[in-house]
Amino acid sequence: MSDVQNAVERIQAQFPDAIREVVEFRGETTLVVDKGSLVEICTFARDTEGLDFDRLSDQAGLDYWPEEPRFAVSYELYSLQNGTDLRIKVYTPGDDPELPTLSGVWPTANWMEREIWDMFGITFTGHPDLRRILLPHDWTGHPLRKDYPLGYEEVQFSFNVERIDDQKPYAKE
């Protein structure tokens, strides 16, 4: 069997009740887990011989508004020795979303979780330094949520250009 299937079976054997489902789509395997045992599963994936998922390639936040559970975070793991990819996905509900931090397991998760906090508002408990990373530090709101307004400026056509021009704040000097 392939390395990924081997890894999935070993994780399932170790944590039988934490895995909600295993999704396989076009060669990519996703494990949907409970957030309670997320840190243990990731530590097991990193440390066990044969699994060796020593790189967290990416961490992404998802917003499924208006479905519940609203938010999800997906962790893309990669093993440099075996060359295998695995995705671990965790769901969290919409009001007061929080997840345990993985910055103790893989240090890259530090800034990626800061970005997810900045854009989605998902709190990571135990994170050493959770503050905004992409937006100005005094920004309110979390822009990548589905109910955040786009914030665009009205497009100027010939019939409304004077009105928009009058209201636009131009710098004088």
Partner: protein, 160 residues
């Protein structure tokens, strides 16, 4: 102003002084090394040997705003970068000029959202706008030549 009053009789000399000052200002205008995004690549290639900008006097780009006269805003300006850009502009001594290079600096470009300032002229006063995404080096050179023409038409009293 003061100069024209004193040398009122020598009208010819005053005009030539203005022309001389403007010729000097246009002939050696040092830009600030302020590339922000993709337009900076085009600014770099304009500065390089193929489309040379040093034949227009912009031999070098100063890293410090205190030593530069021209601010070429090359690239999109985010809301986080906007106060920094304003501070850079404030630190430049007079006389100073601004070129808004590219679509994002002129009007926000294709990014019409919460994070990008819709036109850098919301923050600093702009003299020349250059359209393009990114503008080719020829367009940037055309913009600088247009700025030089504007500088030659200025009066000394503009900057006192």
């Amino acid at each position: 102003m003061g100069i024209t009053k004193k040398l009122g009789n020598l009208g010819v000399v005053t005009t030539t002084l203005e022309q001389a000052v403007n010729w000097a200002r246009a002939g050696a205008m040092w830009p600030l090394l302020s590339g922000l995004a993709c337009c900076a690549i085009e600014m770099m290639s304009t500065q390089a040997s193929h489309y040379d900008m040093s034949r227009f006097g912009m031999e070098l780009m100063r890293a410090s705003p205190r030593q530069s006269d021209l601010l070429i805003v090359a690239g999109r300006v985010t809301r986080k970068m906007a106060p920094v850009l304003r501070r850079l502009y404030d630190q430049m001594p007079y006389p100073k000029w601004v070129i808004a290079m590219g679509d994002c600096a002129s009007c926000g470009g294709i990014f019409n959202n919460y994070a990008i300032v819709q036109g850098v002229d919301e923050i600093i006063p702009v003299d020349v706008y250059i359209a393009g995404c990114p503008p080719r080096p020829e367009q940037l050179i055309h913009g600088t030549m247009m700025l030089h023409q504007k500088v030659r038409g200025e009066k000394i009293s503009d900057w006192t």
